[in-house]
Symmetry: C2
Subunit: 419 residues, 2 copies
């Protein structure tokens, strides 16, 4: 069993040694006088949990910047016209590119909603992070498609048990405007039977809410609830246009809400994510980047800053979402929703952590590490990333990244030119 | 006269050689077959103008992170209780730290509103960038203070002619709630007589607007205009709570408006900066970071992303502030307002430019350089910074930065502990 000893790391303002045995944090103490297979001198570095990106479409990194400064419908059409040409190798390389970005910016676990999850699982296994990879239901109210998707979901779930232990299988219901109620209910039942999380897009735009009200006389959240879908295994992406009753339903059912601040802003979906009300109701709130085709990167640290600033800006309340809560939103809250024992630097937890280099202008003076990390620095301060007890990045470098970038670039252009 | 030849740089999507002679861009061509004192191989790098930070209080970098997650009044009291202890050496080292941050993030020129501008001028001279450094009027309606400030302003203006040519002198009127109308008019007259710009805080908070309406029956902008102050030499920081008539006045008088998006959000001042209306009225719009005590860093590239996303988010219009306009807001618009021939990569312009490293995951695929630069990358992509024909940073390193950081850190703690 491999051991890693982190010497002289700063953990919550105090200098500590941290001993990792296998894939868990074994000991945290002022000084640990043992020899380890690998010792890392952490002088000048702070340690934080790896981020958990709770909503993304990883392989869409291949489409980064494909469509800028255009209306939403044009953006969607551009994306869809390219996605028609997707094949396994694109998803595999897109996911590898996305995971490289995530590692570079300190993310050690992500929840993915994209086609061909087995290819994403392969990328996760090879790159060393954790992924909850979902089978995506999107039947466009077509019964034949629905049946096909059900059997495919069962099939992939079956062999997902052979995936690496860092990969978990889950179910996605794309959205209630793209999936028939029949399929939604089936997917939800399948997830519950098998102890899987359900990821879904909900109340992302005002249009969506108005449309459901016209169609069902209900908000999307109330509609999902009327189908019996909402439960503590449900992770609701966006949840931007929530009404008071929606928040009550989320609280009652134990649904997790995932803010995707950069994507919501950039696509013009809105800005009034009701963090304060969700918190008051006891709803678990997490953060995601969405796919790189909308928000352009998968940088959780950057998204944390935007989330905090926007909360303060639109509410006028400078005390909302203080730094300790913001750190939780980006780490432990996600771990809780996914049922993975990560997101915290404590003895016994999975060894998923990040070393942050503080010897730079962004950390002068270092009165408040979290403030400097989130508000002042950029993500190049992320020096070392460890996941599941393995070192994925050191000194800002991931082994083999040049070759990965070359291949991903080649695949991106092949995909773009396929249209 | 020194010459620098940039070989194989990407300029607006095309590979170019750029020859710098002295402090200007002399030639831009597909290939320049000359020998230069210094040749830089720019393979894999794009060239952009250096950013112009149009509002900051540079030395406040010493107070980074001093006060987080507290109400605005508490924040202000914390800042003021420390600023009481300011001395020349703090301002000098604070400005050096701020300028280092600016160089690292691609800024080559800034407009500063802070005490002891001669110390800032010294820091600017030594660090190699450009600064417009203002004498700050803030008399708190005290006649004695006003008279003292007038003579100090005259005195510093007198010897500012001996400052390095990269430094320009200007006048700041802190705000209409901290400066008496008499002093405002005098400062404005002095600036006009001497061809100086005037920097002022205006309509930053709703409270300020409501207070002026009660006091004068006018918005702050209308009040300034009634004093005859507004003219094309006026650079209005914040301008967040503008009414329709305010925008008309700005347009008629040729006033420049400077958005400080991160600061406005973080201090809970608001989010509805009326870029679309200002643009439609023909008002020159620029961008600033404000001081690091409020927005925590001086990273213009990061602020550009926040500005673009917030514009799209609050208006719901994804086509607002397209990338080419965003680049202008952060470069040439500022140059125009300051009357400095920079902010553009063209033959004859001052040689103030940035080389951006594109061989990283943030630029894969590189369909749209500006999109990747602003939306996907972080500022560690800024590899080389040239200002006034001098190389200030290469390979992400500024000469002497370690010593500078050490000294600035020492000074910051000395200042903090002085209280």
């Amino acid at each position: 069993m491999g051991t890693i000893l982190l010497k002289h790391a700063i953990l919550k303002g105090k200098q500590k040694d941290i001993l990792i045995k296998g894939n868990r944090i074994a000991v945290i103490a002022d000084s640990i006088p043992v020899r380890a297979a690998r010792e890392i001198d952490c002088t000048g570095k702070s340690v934080t949990p790896g981020f958990i990106n709770m909503h993304t479409h990883s392989a869409m990194s291949l489409l980064r910047g494909i469509s800028e400064d255009v209306p939403l419908t044009e953006w969607l059409n551009n994306i869809w016209s390219i996605e028609k040409h997707l094949q396994k190798e694109y998803v595999y390389w897109g996911a590898k590119l996305a995971i490289l970005e995530m590692i570079k910016t300190g993310t050690t676990c992500f929840l993915d909603m994209y086609w061909m999850s087995p290819q994403v699982a392969q990328a996760v296994e090879e790159m060393g992070i954790r992924g909850v990879l979902t089978y995506v239901f999107l039947d466009n109210y077509d019964t034949e498609k629905s049946e096909k998707q059900k059997s495919e979901c069962i099939r992939i779930h079956g062999y997902s048990k052979e995936w690496h232990k860092r990969c978990k299988f889950g179910v996605s219901i794309h959205a209630d405007y793209t999936v028939s109620p029949h399929t939604m209910v089936w997917a939800s039942g399948f997830a519950k039977e098998n102890g899987l999380i359900i990821n879904t897009h909900i109340s992302e735009t005002e249009k969506e809410v108005l449309s459901d009200k016209e169609k069902y006389g209900k908000t999307p959240v109330a509609f999902y609830d009327s189908l019996g879908i909402l439960d503590s295994n449900v992770i609701a992406a966006h949840a931007l246009w929530l009404e008071d009753e929606d928040i009550e339903i989320f609280a009652k059912r134990g649904v997790t809400a995932v803010h995707n601040v950069n994507s919501n802003l950039k696509l013009g979906s809105g800005y009034r994510f009701r963090y304060g009300d969700l918190k008051a109701a006891g709803v678990n709130v997490c953060l995601g980047t969405d796919g790189a085709a909308s928000s352009n990167n998968l940088d959780m640290r950057e998204s944390m800053k935007t989330m905090s600033l926007l909360q303060k800006g639109w509410t006028g309340d400078t005390t909302i979402l203080p730094l300790n809560e913001l750190m939780d939103v980006a780490t432990i809250n996600g771990a809780r929703a996914l049922g993975i024992d990560t997101g915290r630097i404590e003895e016994g937890a999975l060894a998923d952590l990040v070393l942050v280099e503080t010897r730079s202008e962004a950390f002068i003076p270092n009165i408040n590490f979290e403030s400097n990390f989130i508000y002042s620095a950029n993500s190049s301060c992320i020096d070392t990333v460890i996941c599941d007890g393995n070192i994925l990045m050191e000194g800002g470098k991931v082994a083999g990244e040049e070759q990965l970038l070359e291949k991903a670039d080649e695949m991106a252009w092949k995909l773009i030119n396929a249209t």
